[in-house]
């Protein structure tokens, strides 16, 4: 058996997967996309989406988080002024779904896919 010698310079491993928890806008979009569920069911779905986002490769999670911060800026301002409500988010999400800008559309698509999968796998009776 050989002996262990000096190690050649290598790339560091960096941040662990799971470093970015769900952000405010992401919670709002999930709530908007699952309007018919009760609080318990929505909580289960939110937990699933949160776990999934934390599991993403870091560079993809950072991209999604950046979009969440960017797209969430104006609703947050509206919230600070007391003018934010869920219905306005609903209209906003519908606009994003049909956006001609692929990153915007993909942002909603990602969250929508996660919500749909969880909704129909975790709470099949509720979504009938």
């Amino acid at each position: 058996m050989c002996a262990v010698g000096p190690v050649t310079a290598t790339v560091s491993e960096g941040l662990p997967v799971g470093f970015l928890a769900m952000l405010w806008l992401e919670r709002e979009v999930v709530a908007t996309l699952s309007p018919t569920l009760d609080d318990h069911q929505r909580s289960m779905i939110e937990t699933y989406v949160d776990d999934s986002l934390r599991s993403m490769p870091e560079h993809l999670r950072v991209g999604v988080a950046a979009e969440s911060i960017l797209f969430g800026a104006w609703p947050r301002v509206q919230g600070a002024l007391g003018r934010y409500d869920r219905r306005s988010m609903n209209a906003r999400v519908e606009r994003w779904k049909a956006s001609r800008f692929d990153p915007v559309r993909q942002y909603v698509r990602l969250l929508h896919s996660l919500v749909l999968f969880a909704e129909h796998e975790l709470t099949p009776a509720a979504s009938r």
Partner: protein, 477 residues
Amino acid sequence: MTTPEATLDADVLVIGSGAGGAATAATLAAAGRDVTVVEEGPWIDPDALEPFSLEEMAAKYRHRGLAAALGNPAIAFAEGRCVGGSTEINSGLYHRLPAALAESWRHEYGIDDFSPETLDSYAQRIENELAVSRLPGAPPPSSALLERGATKLGWQAIEYPRVFRYDAAGRGVKQTMTRTLLPRAIEAGATVIPNCRVRRLLRRDGRVIGIRCHRTENGVAENLMIRAEHVFVCAGAIQTPALLQRSGIRGGVGSGLKVHPMIKIAARFPHPVDHGGVPMQVITEFGPNLSIGGSASRRGQVAMALADSSADYGDALDDWERVSVYYAAIRSEGRGRVMAVPGLRAPVVTYRLTEGDMSRLARGLVHLGEVLLASGATELYPSVADGPVVHNQHELAAWWDAVTRNRTNLMTVHLTSSVRMGEERSRTGADSFGRVWGFDNLRVSDASVVPDAPGVNPQGAIMAIAARNSDQFLAEG
């Protein structure tokens, strides 16, 4: 809590326990070598979780299935991360490497001892070991529908064999690596260490002398060094090049990634369709550059596929038991790259589809639509944003223009060719038997060395090549 670094010794160290790693470990252990297999993911009883369920994705898929190759369009992809690798999560469909492709690659990349006859002999060995077989009875409705549509159109369709063993009642059990080659390797003396992530290879003077890894067992984390005489990296087409790059090995590593991009349709039928498995009928009329088959279609997957069309799908979703998901997959002429980036644990993956690829995907979508309508489907929802829902053959023409880079949602489960093998050093990362250029004791034996996209489910080719490379290693003494 992390304990101080422990040290283990091995003669042959195999990194990864999927199709390539398990075939390597079983071959070498049976020949009497001292084999240690390290696997990043956990060992999960193959009967513990329902196939394609949310629980399975959380437990066995890397990133819970949420990975994507960056590009326009991006391509979502899935990899296994558990003992047995992707063999634990795939459909079990099996196909030998097409002879024409093997012959072509042999010349293009200068691969020694890569004749179709040689590969077939290894494939036969694997098929015997895994009980590769066809369904003993009639196919399930989701599969029979494809056959019916193909027959009506006069297209060639075949039932793919699967790595399934059937009992007298016709019940099939998928012969994953945790059921087959890994237990055989252990029986022959091999050790399998799950929950063990390899951080980097340790190198000295043109040799790899071991690995540094991080193992977690029962909540206790442990840094581990494993010294080895010989190392086989079998971590798949994404993780293998990433590990090599993290270890400072970059020549011919990570470039040339190939995938089979898949475009999908959620098809609604006038009658219920089964949702438990994946259809085994594959339409080969346009192969090997375009194949058509069925996807996992649990309720959650049906919902996601319907939503991909951005049409109003509420009524179809309420009727989900009559909806099933099908795909068209192409052999892409584009290529991608895997890059280990300092500061990131997951590698960055990119993929560039050519205009020809986009055209083939549109053609694939239209052909898939044709066969589904011929099989009796009444509504087709394509995985194309704003792609119109189609009800008859005349409406299919609208899809030719709908498949654009900004509107098409793609995914893949077949990733290959990121450390190609062959004697053409400028185009490969390893020699004809997977030995990494510049190292006499470091080999790659997984999907990475397959020189190009095979156009069929790749696990058969991966296992045959891994067995072949292992025999060569043994022959070299």
